[in-house]
Symmetry: C2
Subunit: 371 residues, 2 copies
């Protein structure tokens, strides 16, 4: 195991010092910012997340803020999902494509006001992308990365913790992917029922980076009765839950439909968006198309350090992009990007896992559930 | 010191396994790829680099490839430097701006052919940026990240090693920032006299990612007489040499002239580029402008974990963005982004360095030498 270089060239989250104090053992760099990945006990952290409540520094999930007269039009133009009817206080999962129809990010679009939007992004420089489009196309909107840092409270007991913090009435009035401007002892934030797990909970989008430590301490104190513990986005839970990890699960030339995000892409509407024509053209050529699917893996496996080649009936079929032990299922599972003819549930696969050869089966569990 | 999470969500360089075997102790993530930052002996590595020769995995310095009838026009349009007259086999340091005139990367532009260019980039997603501009403006060019991974051979003895590898005639025919297509035992590469140090040497742009280990081994074997050792871009050397580290030294709202890159920006030409009008406008408003300068720091200092606030005559003056011990000068030095009135050589500064207060002086050494 190697050390990560900690220095001023990579941003630190407003919660960074708290995560160090809390004993984070692994970090990655995500959107040019350190993000904790583990506190050293993956199974314990899984249990806390799936049966209790955990507190995550996900400040590296940066926002692209789009403000101005053309903000709604620009946000729509860079989103492959129809955002029509999305009102202030609502959010929608909205994949983004380049001009070739390939997936370049899969943010959540939050409508803060008619003329003010956030894209809450995965790990690629979407502030630059949206700026480029805005500047080249002449949209009348400002595009920038604001001082906004999400802290996620996730797990079946997250609502209890948030009721203690914000009151029962407010918490119970916020539906899935809804959000409100809120304050906690004067700390400004946007409170959204969202998060990168399927265990329920909220993301607290802190809007004053100087107050991260205060917010962390308030959340940890409020969650004491529920046994809240520091945690991170969790590989086991997210693969079990079929949550896409852009940058991990797909290649640069994967379109959102191949990535299993078809339900979140609207090709049949009147509005134009970047990549729409190319996406339509890609659908008419079924050769060479792929599909991201869940797989069940037999027996033990090594820890994945690279993606692994997979074959079906002796022919190359694609690659296993992520794999993990599943505590829920009691066996290893993974996500594989396969040619469509190998992507049918039940297809047996052979996986070249570094020094081992594994057998696996395409799982009938559909990837991508309603967001 | 925390661990870095090693997993399939971050790319690995073709030289990655070699750097692990060679004992790399710290990595960062740069352009979504692991990049070694140290082999555990900073002063020893400095000495090797400045008096001998070292071999660096800088595959994370990715390329944006631009190919097609409009390749030259598009490369020029995204570059704040005049690329007129740049012929195949030549390269030029060419900062890039957004539409507000702010620096978004500082690549080297390599002309491979009239209709084929590389931008050899620092740490931001310029493939997406150039794709966005090309798609929105209708340039007839393909833009993609090719299978190209630089291995740098740097130091005063680098030429000797490269003569052993490629022959004296070829090496001595390549001037600074010139490049040639070459082969080494059938391994295809582009050989360029460049690199992120001022110690001289070459970058070997490997164009077959499956042959990284072979190339590494060939370079290490050829350099044995010169005592070649594995190394990395070196904080001490690059700060001593005044080499900009985009992402570390500047804010997102810094223009290239503030960053000391004025000599590499052409505002007085006829051609248009992204950010030109905004850059011209910024020059007419001297209020609020800044300058990146070298500073000399008195006495001992803590290891910088964040940028540090600096003040002059009791007033906030900017921030120290990078600082290091200088073996050459025998004292600590740094780079500070200061308001122009505090940026005059000789200006005394007070630096709030975490728990210490330091004194420093703006150095007369000009930042930014000819590239």
């Amino acid at each position: 195991m190697s050390h990560i270089a900690i220095g001023p060239s990579v941003s630190k989250s407003p919660f960074y010092d708290a995560t160090v104090d809390a004993g984070a053992t692994e970090y990655t760099i995500y959107n040019h910012m350190y993000m904790p990945m583990s506190y050293g006990d993956p199974l314990g952290e899984y249990k806390t997340l799936t049966t209790g409540v955990s507190c995550w520094d996900v400040a590296a999930e940066r926002q692209v803020e789009i403000v101005g007269p053309d903000a709604a039009a620009l946000t729509q133009y860079v989103s492959a999902r129809n955002l029509g009817g999305l009102r202030p206080g609502r959010a929608r999962y909205a994949p983004m494509c380049d001009h070739d129809g390939c997936l370049i990010n899969d943010p959540i679009a939050l409508c803060l006001a008619e003329d003010r939007w956030w894209l809450s992004i995965a790990d690629s420089d979407m502030t630059l992308w949206v700026k480029a489009i805005a500047g080249a196309k002449g949209f009348d909107a400002e595009v920038f990365e604001p001082d906004v840092s999400p802290l996620a409270v996730q797990g079946p007991k997250a609502d209890d913790v948030c009721r203690t913090l914000f009151g029962t009435e407010l918490i119970d009035s916020i539906g899935f992917f809804q959000h409100r401007f809120a304050e906690l002892e004067g700390i400004p934030l946007v409170l959204c029922r969202s998060g990168w797990s399927r265990q329920g909970g909220f993301e607290l989008f802190l809007t004053d980076g100087d107050r991260g430590m205060e917010l962390w301490d308030l959340v940890m104190a409020a969650g004491e009765p529920q046994g809240i513990a520091p945690g991170t986005p969790h590989r086991m839970e997210r693969i079990e839950s079929g949550l896409l990890s852009y940058g991990s699960d797909v290649d640069p030339d994967t379109d959102p439909i191949e990535a299993g995000l078809g339900p979140f892409v609207n090709l049949d509407t009147e509005y134009e968006f970047v990549g729409r024509q190319a996406l339509i053209a890609r659908q008419t050529d079924p050769s060479n198309r792929r599909r991201l699917v869940n797989i069940d893996i037999d027996g033990p496996m090594p820890a994945p350090q690279h993606s692994w080649p997979a074959s079906a009936s002796g022919k190359p079929a694609g690659r296993v992009r992520a794999a993990t032990w599943s505590p829920k299922l009691g066996h290893n599972i993974g996500l594989a990007l396969l040619s469509t003819d190998a992507a049918t549930p039940g297809t047996p696969l052979t996986v070249d896992a570094d020094d081992s050869v594994l057998t696996a089966t395409v799982s009938p569990v559909p990837f991508g559930v309603s967001l």
